[in-house]
Subunit: 446 residues, 4 copies
């Protein structure tokens, strides 16, 4: 059954003309790059909330999206129809994974029991379609931010009943995670933060959510759900300050509460900028901590102060993120989820195909460049040379714990300034950036 009257997106390479949209120019799923198929490095995932549910609203305007299911007015009927569209979209786009919040799938009822019943009907259909098609769930999660009951958060809500509700909701989501064999279970703390410190007991709220996470893990263990738990940092929006501000802050939280063995990070490009970081910085922080879980592959606009969830088109950034990913040996349970939406003016269904194609090509292009940089040891040789003084002499003694401050003083106290300056080296950053530009153009332009 084909719902979308559109041919499957295939690799066409650079020979297909310069106008984008006829196929993949850089993503060739079966091509082997750095020892693995591209499709194995790049576990692309469709974000249900954006691709299926996003109406392209903004705070100043109603939705502009035009979708084939718009005319189905009954909410449950529409919810079930969208499942078919989603699987056809995955098929047409040659994408293997998808991700969803519980509330993306089905409308709420008057009670959690009714809500769960609605949800289960849609999940039943999803499970069936997964069997049929072989498509997989990269991660699922639970929305503790949309409904007005979560006005002050879910697990950090100052209201015990809301925390109780949140726990019950997550419980069901974990059961679904097990049913759909979700690779990961994600917590994005949408309203787990504060609007104002004046009326917030931040420590109590963090104690609460840490205990809540522990209980969630216990429940996962209880039911035998073994997917990787992930936290997704974001500094602000919707709240003024969110507890999982950025990778480092989230690591501080995990370590403070002894949760760092059970959680890794899901990192999003646009969230990095909002926290004042580059995307590659956030990925590096997580990688260095052994906590790199998965990627929400989108981008923002550094001149814009809110989350725009744009489909990635910056190949240089994708290169640097893919470089981190390669250095990490891939993402064991993770993938590249398009937490991204077309611009509000790109309101046609066709734009959804074009936007995913552009995003996939951006990361495929980035992977190609990153793999070549790695193979040619471009950055590795720079690093090796730059830190070489720690391979012998006083540097090696320091690495091996053979010196103390007094030894250092004896070693250095009579060295003149000229020798000290001579011990420093230029970073040659202008040359290095130009070299990476050369790699990008040459790898992708042939």
């Amino acid at each position: 059954m084909s719902l979308f009257d559109r041919k499957k997106m295939e690799y066409v390479g650079n020979q297909a003309g310069l106008k984008a949209g006829n196929g993949f120019h850089y993503y060739n799923p079966d091509e082997v790059i750095h020892g693995k198929k591209m499709s194995e490095w790049l576990k692309f995932s469709v974000a249900y909330w954006h691709t299926m549910d996003q109406r392209l609203v903004d705070p100043f305007g109603d939705g502009t999206a035009q979708r084939p299911w718009d005319n189905i007015k009954d909410p449950m009927e529409q919810a079930l129809a969208k499942v078919d569209y989603m699987f056809d979209f995955l098929d047409k786009m040659n994408i293997e994974y998808f991700a969803f919040h519980d509330r993306d799938l089905a409308p709420e009822g008057e009670t959690l029991r009714e809500t769960n019943a609605n949800l289960d009907k849609v999940v039943d259909k999803i499970v069936e379609k997964m069997k049929e098609t072989g498509k997989k769930v990269l991660w699922n999660t639970s929305s503790l931010f949309t409904n007005p009951r979560f006005v002050a958060g879910g697990a950090t809500a100052p209201f015990a009943d809301i925390l109780a509700y949140s726990a019950a909701q997550i419980k069901h989501s974990l059961e679904i995670a097990k049913r759909v064999n979700s690779r990961n279970y994600v917590f994005w703390g949408g309203r787990e933060g504060y609007e104002s410190l004046l009326n917030t007991d931040m420590k109590l709220e963090q104690d609460h959510i840490a205990k809540f996470f522990r209980m969630a893990k216990d429940y996962a263990n209880e039911i035998g759900y073994t997917g990787q738990f992930l936290l997704e940092p974001k500094p602000k929006e919707p709240t003024s300050h969110q507890y999982d501000t950025d990778a480092a802050t989230t690591i501080a939280f995990l370590k403070t509460y002894g949760l760092d063995k059970d959680f890794k990070l899901n990192l999003e490009g646009n969230h990095a900028y909002l926290a004042g970081h580059t995307y590659e910085h956030e990925v590096r922080v997580a990688r260095d901590a052994g906590l790199l879980g998965s990627l929400d592959a989108n981008m923002g606009d550094k001149l814009i102060g809110w989350d725009i969830d744009e489909f990635p088109n910056d190949v240089m950034e994708a290169t640097l993120v893919m470089y981190e990913m390669l250095k990490n040996g891939g993402l064991p349970t993770g993938g590249l989820n398009f937490d991204a939406k077309p611009r509000r003016q790109s309101f046609t269904m066709e734009d959804l195909f074009l936007a995913h194609t552009a995003g996939m090509d951006t990361y495929a292009a980035g992977l190609r460049v990153a793999a070549k940089l790695l193979e040619d040891h471009v950055l590795d040789s720079v690093i090796e040379d730059r830190y070489s003084s720690f391979k012998s002499g006083i540097g090696a003694d320091f690495e091996n714990g053979k010196v103390d401050f007094t030894d250092f003083e004896n070693y250095i106290i009579d060295k003149p300034q000229s020798e000290l300056i001579a011990a420093t080296k230029s970073g040659h950053l202008e040359q290095l950036k130009a070299t990476i530009n050369n790699y990008m153009f040459t790898v992708l332009g042939k």
Copy 2:
């Protein structure tokens, strides 16, 4: 000996007219506020680098400062003369503490041995003046960022000789800390960060500096220096990314390397903004973690993207920071160091007096308002009411570990939306902010 022809700054209160500068309007050192003298809550400190050394340069212009010691041309002679001026300034301003970098005090020589010799001459004089006057050192530190040898950092430099030099320099600074009985020893990682991730091994650099800190603590123990070690976060400037980005990031670092027992934080207002936080947020994060050490009491301009180190004049911000301080029971070893400089157009010596007076009054005013807010339980009663659902019923069961996710589900699964909404409460933030305004005007206006 009086070098400055200016009367001592005394408390004059609000009766002295509205024009600032004739004395303190809010700082009354011996007045008891919330059970302690103001001078005990407010351990003000003069920052040697700004107050004595700052020429009021900026990246586009030469220094404009006009100081009585400008005509002393011999560097060592000037360095020694400035000690006298500094102690007279402390006296005239009624300030008990000061803080300094090693390089603030004396010029460098050709080798570290010569540099140390220069430094020791000035420290000798300082020790003598301290005995004479009773003035104290809030903290000292070491500059690993000014000299070109630190082009790529000190303890995180990619060059072993520079790391060795840094260790030797800190060694001497710790010896000075012991001599001057410094309450704290501060590390601000001026260039401990990266210019670009492309040529940086961030993990190696952080491993290095963690080991370096451990060695510093070992050396302090060896010589019997018992002051509190502090790290001062800042997100960027001079480097593109500094490792001690903000309080949470620094906590992540301390916990990752097991240094959280030996270090606390020194928090600066302007650095908070640069990291996207309010000053009170940073202080709260540290307080909640039991790591609130000391305060660099300055402010920035949230519309300006670099560190301006302005003297504090925002009494509302000072109120919120003093509130955190009171909640912390004060700052055991810490104080309020004016890491602040007059604007470049405020180039006269008199402006230095006026600027410190304004800064001291700002924090004294903030302390007065915060104490009254605390005494009237204004914020405490808001918090108590807001989180009251955790005092009984399901909330208390959660606090006491008596429930799991299944219990929560049973409890909540049939509650209708109307009951859930009824479980939430308004934060009444507009009213609360207006109330705090009322407190501020009433406490300070009488």
Copy 3:
């Protein structure tokens, strides 16, 4: 008829206790300040879109607002009921003015004809209530941004039919402006900007909107509507770049197209920050250009990159804005419109009363302080002294056009650096800011 079971908000002063909410602490409508009643200086206005229509949604959550008219399900019936509530709100709050977009008042129909019919029914009722109560319209405007047809703007839309629709819609709004005797007619260019420069002909779009504005003015003249036309700058949101970025940019536009005789500016606090300016800067720019029209009195959070439309609570900012207003001799046709909404957690109807009270008190407090600063010539005397060198000698010659570059050269060429430095003066900004703090506390605290 009283719909809200709440006593009228009256002036209670500082004697009423410190907790906000029982009445006005600073706003005393009939009190004479600087020669005019406070109510004449402060023509407060309720913003229909926020106060009556705002559901307290955000991009991540549904509305939380709880309003007495929520249970009226028929859109037209609700629209008419809200008119009664609005007038009762004005009465209870002691506010004389209100402001609205066409689409705030009534639902759209299938065609503009139907939409106009809906709107006219509500306007009929408003006209009647205005007669009954004496309340007035500060300004009205037209929404060219909410409906999906305006996806790419209204008067700058690349689609002729949408421009035509916009013109027809504004036509009707101008007719309403005449009926309700609106003091001003405002254009906020919600989507009059670009999402991307790549597919935008900026010059053509600006030519279009300039011609459109000319036609709007012609139509106003045709029907005898004499209210002041205003443009409201905002730099971004919803579009990436909006044409009326800030006051200066809007002035450039007006002058380029010869529209500066027919338009003034409506300036909003939060929009100022988003453009990188203080609110007082924007007001000063407009005042200096003789183009200060009206104020959207709200505030933002300089650490947050989007428009939060918070009710004003920063009295220092209000002081500086009121100072500009006093210097302007008031706002001939303008007022202080609360383009502001309670925080999403302040969801009760009572919060709406409290929030407006807080906002009114903030500006009333600011007016009191500003008036005192003006009466005491605090800033005027600083300015006078600072620029005094232009009152005589070479400075006066310059002012009077009596010198040229050669005269200046002759005058200055042999002056030594010491004399030039002596010609400069300290700005004493630290002292000045402390003085203004003293004024604020003393004026408001008694």
Copy 4:
């Protein structure tokens, strides 16, 4: 005479390996692109202040630059030696133009007369070298910001003597402009702005500088200097607010004071970001106004809040800026001046060669891509299609002034929403950006 032991930088193309630095990969001076030689489109210019004078200081550290002239201690001797180095640098880099401030060239004396004498000696040598080599001056300017006498500005200083000095200094600079046949004369208002609005008479200061500019132009006319006058916008730094904030603000100023016939704009990439704009936006604004003068080709870091003056390496940005330049038919008197400095860690002389090479290649690459986009009508055809509804029917009637608001109402009043929505078109921005990526890689990768 060859001072630098380095071979001349020549075009080597992509065949020379991927490591940057051996020559130009994209800049081929004599190659014809879009009808003109690359060297004619790209009038590259060396910025004397950065390339010759910049010590690579920052607010936290001393200069790290290592230059062959460092050992020449006598200021005038060094100043004269640097002229030789500069011309050799131009020769080695194959760059035709340079730009300078008066104070870049020679040290100040005690009086302006002495300063002018120093300067004239260096200018004499420059004039001679220009004759010898054929190198040209793109623009010169005058520093009214470095010396402490300019603490509060030059032409906007509140001190008449400083304004007089500024006039005299500019007078001499205009005489030099004539001598060196400078294509343009630039005014960057380094301190022409305010530190605080509290003590600033903004209108008076703008009146002053407008009159000052008029006098400068009069003097240029008097001496027969016919170069183009340019203003360079920057929003802040060093002052909190600079009058020439961005292109639009500067246009407002020029139009307000009737100076728009005599001035154009010099636009810098990093300054654009600081004002919240893209570089291409600023260039477009100037182009649309007919005021595009010249380009300071550098870049910044949108995550960093101050001016970093990085050498350009973002080829996508360069493409968009070169596209504007091509649409403008080139820059009649302007060029691409590298107002850029190597990173502080790139402290070797070799880095200066590498950095300029990288910057030149970035803009040469951008020119190549932009020319191909233009030749293929990629953006033009998007624009043409998007605005096509203004070519006929009601759209054309609007363009031709044949309709008024009543006509528009009659035309649209009964159109149903479905037809209005059908009148809008997707912007297909994701596809367009992907297409431009394809162009970039294909044009540059072959």
